[in-house]
Every structure is written in structure tokens, then in C-alpha cells.
């Protein structure tokens, strides 16, 4: 029934039928919306788009992943702690679903680490220890599956640099690793189609910090 409806939907919306499936079309539209989302409002709308796709194409992990990514990013865009947690609750559910679909998904674990950092930020006073350990554990899992997942490597670096900055210890020891990540980003980042590919710009910023 679902395929039938998909075909009809496709037909009736007059979309090209030649190459891409309706799912891919919807994903592409949502991804381009994602690329231009600047505000929380934009991001909410983009998250909704991914959610609609996730609901219908429920065997796909990407829409759930991107929905979670949107909500994690949204949590970093606002100040209110309770609302941050509400966003992260949604993201957490989506990541759980991705891991149910694909228990060894390196990107899902990397995103999970990012989510835990979001949880930590809400109340570093009481959550600092618990979530820094959780974030660390998730990154370990991501890198066990794919030792060159650039997003996991990037998040690991930010966590470590953050701690070093806090303690005023030397951060120049990280420069080599940042450099390696930078140079190899494209070779590490062998992503298929619509798979997660974010992080290059952020890693660039990390390098800028290092040079200062």
C-alpha cells in the first residue's frame, strides 16, 4: 500500500519519475532546506521535514539521523535549559531508533556523543562528570566501528581541547592531530549519497584556534 501511495503521490505532484524515488526527492529537498537553516525556526521546520520522511520511510536511518542532528543543533541555539532538554529528548529518541535499525552505525554514535555534550551544557555544574564520560564512551564506540570517522575524530578533539583550555594546559599538542584530520578529511570522509558529511568547516575553525 505504501509503495502504491508513494507512486500516486509522486505522480500527482508531477515530480520526475525517471531517476530518483520519492524518498530521495523528499530527502534532497529536506537536505537543501537543512543547508540553508540558520535560525531555530528554520531548523525546527527542517526537523519537521525530516520527521515526516522518517515517519513514512520508517526503514531508513537517514531521516531519523538528520532529525536528531537538527534537534541537537537547536539545543545549542537557545538558552533555556528546560527547552534544550526537551529538544535533546526528541533527538535521543531518534538516535535510539537509528541504533535499533543499525546497531553498528558509527555516525549515530558520533551524533550521540554530540548530544551528550548538549546535555552537559545545560547544567555543567551537576552534569559535567556524568555526560563527559558518556560522550567519551559514545565516541569510543563510533571509532571502534570506523577509526577514521572524521566527525567522531573532530568531536573527540573538541572535547579534549575544551578540557585542556579549562585547565590551562598546553593545547599545541593537539595541533598535529588537527593537521592530520584536516589533510585527510576528504579521504576519511568517503560518504555515500546523502550520508552525514558535516564537520569540515568546524574542523577548520579548530585549526584556526590552534594557530593562535
Amino acid at each position: 500500500m505504501k509503495t502504491f501511495t508513494t507512486i500516486i503521490a509522486l505522480l500527482l505532484t508531477g515530480q520526475s519519475f525517471a531517476g530518483n524515488s520519492a524518498y530521495e526527492q523528499a530527502m534532497e529537498a529536506a537536505l537543501s532546506q537543512f543547508a540553508t537553516s540558520k535560525s531555530v525556526e528554520d531548523m525546527q521546520s527542517t526537523a519537521n521535514s525530516f520527521q515526516r520522511i522518517a515517519k513514512f520511510a520508517d526503514a531508513e536511518w537517514l531521516p531519523e539521523y538528520y532529525q536528531a542532528h537538527c534537534y541537537v543543533l537547536m539545543s545549542f541555539m537557545i538558552k533555556d535549559g528546560a527547552q534544550k532538554d526537551a529538544y535533546l529528548d526528541v533527538a535521543e529518541k531518534s538516535i535510539t531508533k537509528v541504533l535499533e535499525l543499525q546497531p553498528t552505525n558509527t555516525e549515530a554514535y558520533a551524533l550521540q556523543a554530540f548530544l551528550y555534550t548538549g546535555r552537559l551544557v545545560v547544567d555543567p555544574m551537576t552534569r559535567g562528570r556524568e555526560y563527559s564520560i558518556k560522550s567519551h564512551e559514545s565516541l569510543k564506540k563510533a571509532l571502534a566501528i570506523n577509526p577514521t570517522n572524521p566527525r567522531a575524530l573532530y568531536l573527540q578533539l573538541t572535547n579534549e581541547i575544551g578540557t585542556a583550555n579549562f585547565f590551562g594546559t598546553d593545547t599545541s599538542i593537539f595541533c598535529e592531530r588537527i593537521e592530520t584530520l584536516q589533510t585527510n578529511w576528504d579521504s576519511y570522509n568517503q560518504v555515500a549519497d546523502m550520508n552525514p558529511s558535516w564537520g569540515k568547516n568546524q574542523a577548520q575553525n579548530l585549526k584556526a584556534d590552534c594557530n593562535n
Binding site: 500500500m1 505504501k2 501511495t5 507512486i7 500516486i8 503521490a9 505522480l11 500527482l12 505532484t13 519519475f17 520519492a22 524518498y23 523528499a26 525556526e41 525546527q44 521546520s45 519537521n48 521535514s49 520527521q51 515526516r52 520522511i53 515517519k55 513514512f56 533555556d80 535549559g81 526537551a86 529538544y87 529528548d89 526528541v90 555543567p124 555544574m125 551537576t126 559535567g128 562528570r129 556524568e130 564520560i133 567519551h136 578540557t163 579549562f166 585547565f167 590551562g168
Partner: protein, 719 residues
């Protein structure tokens, strides 16, 4: 395939004129909800609402479809639509999801700390960084309103009640001996390390029917669940040291610790108010075991053994300057075992028990008093979720206490002993009912039977809360509370009745972001208090009574000052009693009419330091001037103190900590001890009851070693 498509195309081409589905999404009160997701089930078609809650999208299909509306924090809305190619205009109202975390909570009488409690007032880790608390849970709690500072005791005095009227519970299990032992008129400390607990809540009245044997307050401590990782904690302090090792496995963990405290080196450096024969010394060990069980259950065992002793010279109170050596020796063994779990989604069960064996020996010249207490507690509770908004909770328990005093004279045959055995059986039942997210009722009843006193009591407990606004609530509590007379009074006097208090509490709470304001008004009536009579057959009666009323004000602000937080507690208290040796109704000596505490903490990033200060003020208390005809008419000076502390994060896993109490050196007097006989002019001489020293200075170094070497004790200083 192609032909099918073609057929379909032709079939549906008649309805190709797209229909628009539009409208507005609001909450129940009609406020627009921007960002809601509106879509047609089993399609990719849909949109998000705009800033005005409006949505519009076109859809070309016809037939019966379901329109779904979703928004974070609201229940999903489903609506069946018959689509015939004409435009649809739909106003959708979303109902806020019933979320207990957002629903109103009863704040009357309740102060919570730590993540286990919803009414966050003070994070449990914050206790140790509260200047002046010196790692003592009770001292940290005394910075909250409703409490008063009684420097000679160290216990928790709440809403006009004495320290003994506060009951301590660990994971719901009664603690027979929550305080350390000390010399007469020297402050005691809580036995437990604040780091053992993930949540600490403290009630100023009107508490749940679950708790008995407390006339004024309960301090409920919830122990930590699983530790994060294997670790070795080393504490080096000016007064001693502590070593704790934690080993973690998949579903369990074990922590073993040992400590040794000796105040001799410190006390020989800093001038003391009292002369010591042997400075306080203590050593002990503890074991903490945790194992996860099926269905998110957890089994915990805590066991400790402690020994302490001290020997002090105290006034003979015979009008001369002679002093008398007083020795105090304490041995304590404590075990607390409990399990909690959910056999099914709707049930939550707890089963637990505790065992205490405590021995205090006081030696004064040739007199030896040995006080032995053995107690145990067994308790089981069950909570049933009748529905989303109704919960029923019940439990049964048995508290057993063996208490005995033995008097003996040194170098003399024989002794005299008195003891009693109490077996208290109790049960409670309570219902928590949300009539909406705005209104909550908690109705409970508790029954107790005392075998020793041969009496039964029934206590109703009622509380309710109403959400008066987005961030504010009003709550009220009422209840009857019973407690056995103190152990010393119960010896050989099984005709006594349980002492009783009635609480009336109204509280208003407002929390906006990180600012909390709370005020509480209360009245407490005491009945059946033990009073000393003249009759030889009944030297003690239950004819005592009393009352207390007052108002508490609390303001906590973590927002206004960057990297800083502060709270201010003020309590007004008016109390009178006619009990024990009182000739008539009078203000008790432990009543502090005005109490003010201001606590400030500041994180200085550049110094990796967390610094804090507390200012405490307690207005003049009364004391009984033996040279005055009027009872309890003497006035002590006001009690003031400024305490400071500083935590420095030297390395990720090394913290240096320093604190000092009463840095301005205010004169503190907690009362007077009068001579037993008057001098030749008929005047009773007196000696003031003072703190052990004017100020207390503490320096410590806390080291955590882990395999990874990455963990730190950041949480321990709570920046």
C-alpha cells in the same frame, strides 16, 4: 510497470487540481504554536506552522486521509479528512502533554537537593562548597530557611522543634543514630559523607505518611547509584586522612573506604576554648555495594564501623575553678540494605532494612555511664500507577529498639542498669492525585503501634498544590505527627504516651529560570510532651504542650551574577512550651527568633577556583538565669559568623580545599552552665558554653586516581 503508471495517471488526472489544506495550530488557550509539524499520514506531504501558528500546503490526492499534527511537549493530534479536491480550512488545538516534571509539585514543607528531587533548592554537591558547612550535611541544611543554628548541638532544629524531632532516613530506611557522639555541650556532626548521596531532601513539615517518629522534620538521603568508573580517592586533611577505592563491573560496583581523624596536631596549633586531655580521635571503615537487578532494579548495601574517643576537662560547677576530666568513647556499627525495582511498568517496589549497634561510654571522675542502643528497621513499600494521574502508595514497617543505661562506679562492685525494648509496627497508605497538571492532592494516613507503650496512633496527612501561574504555585499541608518520648525518658516508664505535633503549612513558590523565591507560613501545635511531675509514682507525665509559628523567606539566584550564585534565607520564629522541668509556659532556650543566612559562591575561571562565603546571623536566644526569679529570662548575645572557603583545581584530578569559620572572630555564646550551689553571697556562678574554638581552619587535598587518568573531581567542587 509503465502501463500501470499510465493507467493510474489517467485515473487520477481528473482530480489533479490541487486542494489546499490550511489553518492555524494553537494550544488549548488559543495561543499560536509556531514550528508544529502538520502532515498527512503515510505520505511525505506536509509543512510546519509559521510564526503565527499558520500552515498551508497543497495536496493532490483524494480520498480519506489522516491529518497529523505534532509538536514537542504536546500530545499528537489526529484528524480524519475526507478529501474531495476542495480546500480545507482547519483550526487545530493541541493539548499539552501531561508531564509530571512540569506539573505542579507540593512545595509546602519541602526542600529538595540533588537531581533526585524536583524542587531543586540546592544541588547535593553544593553542600560541601557552602562555606561553614565543613562537609557536614546538617550544617549545609542549616543554610536553608526554617532551620536554626544551635551551636552547642550541631543537630537540625526545624520550625521551633528540637534536634531530636528531626528523623533521618537513608533510602527510606530509618537511621537510629544519625549523629556522631561528643562531649556535653559540644556540637555533633552527621555520620554520613555528603558524597554518598545523589539527592538530599529536607522537610520543614507536613511530610508524607511514609515517615513517622519525627515531630518536626525528616531528612531523607538517597544513596548514589552506580559509580562512573574504577577509582582510588585519597584525601589528605589537616585533621586526618581518608582512602576509598571503587571497583566497577558490568552491573555492579564495590567501594571500600577507611578513614582516620585526629585533631591533636591541629588543636595544639590553634588556641582552643577548652582544655583537652585527649583531643578527638576517630577511625572507621565503610563498604558500599551496588548491583543492578532485572527490571531497572538496584540492590544496595552500605555497612560502616566507627570508633571515636575524646577526653576533655569540664567545669566541676562547684563554684571553684577546678575542672573534671570527661571521657567519651563511641563505637558504632551500621548496616543499611535495600532493593528497589519495577516488576512491571505500573509497579514500583522497595524493600529494605537497617541495623544499628551503638555504644557510648561517658566517664566523669569515678562515674561511668554506658549507653547501649541496638536498633533495626525492616520496611517494604509498593507504588502502583493506577493511571497517568493517580498513584497509590503503601507500605509496612517494623522498627525495633533496645536501649539501656548502665551506671557504674570505678573500683566498685556491681552496677545499676535500666533498659527497655520497643517494637514499633507501622503502616501507611497514600494517594497522589493530579486532577490536572495544575492541581495536585496528596492524601495519606499512617498507623503506628508501640508495643512498649502499648498504644496505637493514627495520623492523617494531607497536602495539595495549585499552580497559580506559569512559574508559580501555592501549596498547603496539614498533618498529625507522633514520636516516642526520648530514650532517656522511656527507661522504666512504659506508661508514657507518644508525643504529638500538628502542622499547618502554607507555601508560595516562584521559579523563573535560575531564580527561586519561596515563602512559607506555618503553625505547629505540640501535645503530650513529657513533663516532670512531683509524684513519686509518676515522675513523668504527658501533660506538656507548646506551639511554634513563623515565616520563612528564601531567595536563590544563579542568574544575575555571571559565574556567581547566592541564596538568602530568613526565618522568623515564635515558640513557647511548657514541658520537662519548665515551671510554666516559656520560650525554649533553643528558639532563635530571627535567623538570616546569606551564602555566596563564585567561580573564578582564571584561577580555576571556586570561592564562597556565608554570613550567618541568629538573634538572641533566651537562657535560664539561675540568679533571676523569672524562668528563661536571660538573653544571650546575638550569634554571628562569617565563613569562607576556597576550592582550587590544581590538576584535573587534584583539588586543594581550604576553609575558615568565623573569620571576623565574633564572640559566640551558646548558653551558660550554672554552679550547683551558690557562693557565699548567695549568687550562682556560671561558665559560658562556647564553641570548641573561636574559628576553625581546614585545609585538605583530594586526589582521584583512575585508569584513564582523565577523570577529575570537578563535580566535587561543583563549579
Amino acid at each position: 510497470m509503465k502501463s500501470t503508471v499510465l493507467v493510474l495517471f489517467i485515473l487520477f488526472s481528473a482530480t489533479l487540481g490541487a486542494q489546499t489544506i490550511s489553518g492555524v495550530v494553537t494550544d488549548i488557550d488559543g495561543n499560536p504554536l509556531p514550528g508544529a509539524n502538520v502532515y498527512i499520514e503515510n505520505t511525505f506531504t506536509g509543512t510546519s506552522t509559521d510564526a503565527n501558528g499558520k500552515y498551508a500546503f497543497s495536496f493532490t490526492d483524494t480520498g480519506v486521509f489522516v491529518l497529523i499534527t505534532e509538536f514537542v511537549g504536546f500530545d499528537n493530534h489526529r484528524q480524519s479528512l475526507q478529501l474531495l479536491g476542495t480546500n480545507h480550512q482547519l483550526a487545530i488545538k493541541l493539548k499539552e502533554t501531561f508531564n509530571e516534571l512540569k506539573a505542579v509539585t507540593i512545595t509546602a514543607g519541602s526542600y529538595g537537593t540533588g537531581k533526585a528531587e524536583k524542587a531543586l533548592v540546592m544541588s547535593s554537591l553544593e553542600m560541601v562548597t557552602t562555606a561553614g558547612s565543613l562537609g557536614d550535611i546538617n550544617a549545609a541544611m542549616r543554610s536553608l530557611p526554617g532551620t536554626s543554628n544551635n551551636g552547642e548541638s550541631g543537630k537540625l532544629f526545624v520550625h521551633g522543634g528540637e534536634g531530636r524531632e528531626t528523623g533521618t532516613y537513608i533510602d527510606g530506611i530509618y537511621v537510629h543514630q544519625p549523629y556522631t557522639s561528643s562531649a556535653p555541650n559540644m556540637a555533633v556532626r552527621g555520620r554520613f559523607n555528603p558524597f554518598m548521596f545523589q539527592g538530599t531532601s529536607f522537610s520543614t513539615g507536613g511530610y508524607s505518611a511514609e515517615y513517622g517518629q519525627a515531630l518536626s522534620s525528616v531528612l531523607t538521603l538517597n544513596t548514589n547509584d552506580m559509580p562512573d568508573e574504577d577509582a582510588l580517592n585519597i584525601s589528605l586533611m589537616t585533621v586526618g586522612g581518608d582512602l576509598a577505592g571503587t571497583k566497577k563491573w558490568k552491573n555492579g560496583a564495590l567501594t571500600v573506604s577507611g578513614n582516620y581523624i585526629n585533631l591533636k596536631p591541629y588543636m595544639s596549633l590553634i588556641p582552643q576554648n577548652y582544655e583537652w586531655n585527649k583531643e578527638p580521635q576517630a577511625y572507621g571503615g565503610s563498604m558500599n555495594f551496588r548491583q543492578k537487578t532485572k527490571g531497572s532494579g538496584m540492590f544496595k548495601v552500605y555497612a560502616s564501623m566507627d570508633q571515636s574517643n575524646l577526653s576533655q576537662f569540664q567545669s566541676t560547677r562547684d563554684g571553684t575553678s577546678a575542672t573534671l576530666q570527661t571521657d567519651v568513647q563511641n563505637n558504632n556499627q551500621f548496616v543499611n540494605v535495600n532493593w528497589h525495582g519495577s516488576p512491571s511498568k505500573k509497579w514500583y517496589i522497595t524493600i529494605g532494612g537497617s541495623f544499628t549497634n551503638n555504644k557510648d561510654q561517658f566517664t566523669r571522675r569515678d562515674d561511668i555511664l554506658t549507653q547501649k542502643m541496638m536498633g533495626n528497621h525492616v520496611k517494604g513499600t509498593a507504588k502502583y500507577h493506577l493511571s497517568e494521574k493517580i498513584r497509590i502508595r503503601g507500605g509496612v514497617e517494623n522498627i525495633h529498639t533496645d536501649f539501656g543505661n548502665q551506671y557504674k562506679r570505678l573500683n566498685q562492685e556491681g552496677d545499676s542498669s535500666v533498659s527497655f525494648h520497643e517494637n514499633l509496627t507501622a503502616g501507611f497508605l497514600e494517594a497522589q492525585v493530579y486532577t490536572s497538571a495544575k492541581l495536585l492532592f496528596n492524601i495519606g494516613v499512617r498507623g503506628e503501634n508501640s508495643q512498649y507503650l502499648n498504644r496505637s496512633t493514627v495520623s492523617p496527612r494531607l497536602s495539595m498544590a495549585y499552580k497559580t501561574g506559569e512559574n508559580s504555585s501555592l501549596s498547603a499541608a496539614y498533618g498529625w505527627f507522633y514520636q516516642n518520648p526520648m530514650n532517656e525518658h522511656l527507661l522504666n516508664r512504659d506508661y508514657l504516651a507518644n508525643e504529638m505535633a500538628q502542622h499547618y503549612v502554607i507555601s508560595y513558590n516562584q521559579t523563573i529560570k535560575d531564580r527561586t523565591f519561596r515563602t512559607e507560613l506555618y503553625y505547629k501545635g505540640y501535645q503530650n510532651l513529657v513533663k516532670y511531675g512531683n509524684s513519686i509514682t509518676a515522675p513523668y507525665t504527658n501533660s506538656g504542650d507548646g506551639y511554634a509559628y513563623g515565616i520563612d523567606v528564601y531567595l536563590k539566584d544563579k542568574k544575575s551574577i555571571k559565574n556567581g550564585s547566592y541564596w538568602i534565607s530568613y526565618s522568623y520564629l515564635k515558640a513557647e512550651r511548657n514541658f520537662r522541668h519548665y515551671p510554666s509556659t516559656a520560650t525554649p532556650t533553643f528558639t532563635v527568633p530571627h535567623s538570616l543566612t546569606v551564602v555566596y559562591k563564585h567561580w573564578i575561571g582564571d584561577w580555576r577556583s571556586y570561592v564562597g562565603g556565608s554570613f550567618r546571623y541568629g538573634s538572641s536566644r533566651v537562657f535560664n538565669d539561675k540568679n533571676s526569679a523569672e524562668f528563661n529570662a536571660g538573653k544571650l548575645p546575638d550569634n554571628l559568623s562569617l565563613d569562607l572557603n576556597w576550592s582550587f583545581l590544581y590538576r584535573q584530578n587534584i583539588i586543594l580545599y581550604a576553609s575558615a569559620t568565623n573569620v571576623l572572630g565574633f564572640e559566640q555564646v551558646f548558653g551558660y552552665n550554672y554552679d550547683v550551689v551558690p557562693n557565699s553571697e548567695g549568687v550562682y556562678g556560671r561558665t559560658p558554653t562556647l564553641p570548641a574554638a573561636k574559628s576553625f581552619f581546614f585545609v585538605g587535598c583530594f586526589i582521584t586516581l583512575t585508569k584513564k587518568g582523565e577523570t577529575n573531581q570537578l563535580d566535587k567542587i561543583n563549579f
